[in-house]
Symmetry: C2
Subunit: 149 residues, 2 copies
Amino acid sequence: MDQLAAKPSHTPAPTLKENLRKTREEHARETAQDYVEMIAELIASQGEARVIDMARRLGVTHVTVIRTIQRLQREGLVTTQPYRSIFLTAEGRRLAKESRHRHEVVVAFLESLGVSAAVSQSDAEGIEHHVSRETLAAFVRHLEKKGGA
Amino acid sequence: MDQLAAKPSHTPAPTLKENLRKTREEHARETAQDYVEMIAELIASQGEARVIDMARRLGVTHVTVIRTIQRLQREGLVTTQPYRSIFLTAEGRRLAKESRHRHEVVVAFLESLGVSAAVSQSDAEGIEHHVSRETLAAFVRHLEKKGGA
DNA sequence: TCGATTCTGTAGCACTGGCTACATTATGCA
DNA sequence: TGCATAATGTAGCCAGTGCTACAGAATCGA
Ligand SMILES: [Mn+2]
Ligand SMILES: [Mn+2]
Ligand SMILES: [Mn+2]
Ligand SMILES: [Mn+2]
């Protein structure tokens, strides 16, 4: 009830307010994305995802990891039992796959613009969480155009 | 002391850990960037930046704005007096100018890839805060190549 | 001019995600 | 096999950023 009353039909044009709200929501989700992505990688490479390995790779203490894992469990992305390693739910695996793909596209896209590998990796870590479906598609188009194949 | 010991000379290759730490730091700064950018816009268009206008545009309550402004004042980006409007310090103006420029480049860049204006605005609101100097330069190069002029 | 309304500010709550200090459980090796 | 070490977990602190409820100051129009 704080919209410009009458004006349906064509899309109502997103306001700055709505864009900022969306960005805040993305921030709330990005920890989840980085975590499930890393859990999937650890399971693939080490056979299991342990709190201590995540803490070392994330650069935070194990306490922070434990509390975040508890939240992700509450949200249905992972499962754990006391003193056991971490597993992904079906939804967690889905999100991990999607996040990894987007991450790779963003890195490849930045590199295709001539950005160094190191900076591409670094910037992608933040940018990835704010790339919509439409923008991701545009990145892929750009890569296909340049990449040949 | 958790680096690969011996291997100086050329840059030590940033670890995932360091990239994530950098992303966290960027998040701590992005509120400041969006605020000073908006304060500059309000001063330019309305003659002054008031709490209530910022709250409406940001989509948060005035309480949140007041507390954030207090922090920005502590950090030397703005000045205020009780019941008076908000001013930028020299450093605040510098940051506002830089943020606005980067915001505009990011939006223009996304649009140049064929992303719709609405989505470009929305994605840029988050992406802008993770675009390094080097990536920004790559965006500008890409725009100059396509844009002609 | 003065009273209603609007604006600014404070108190106190929730949640996230950092941390240290300490407790408990598992693990691995002598 | 047992004990030192490593890993996991809990308690409680902090800062940031949301919120509602309420208090105080400023403004505007009748
Ligand atoms: Mn990331
Ligand atoms: Mn972000
Ligand atoms: Mn902006
Ligand atoms: Mn922004």
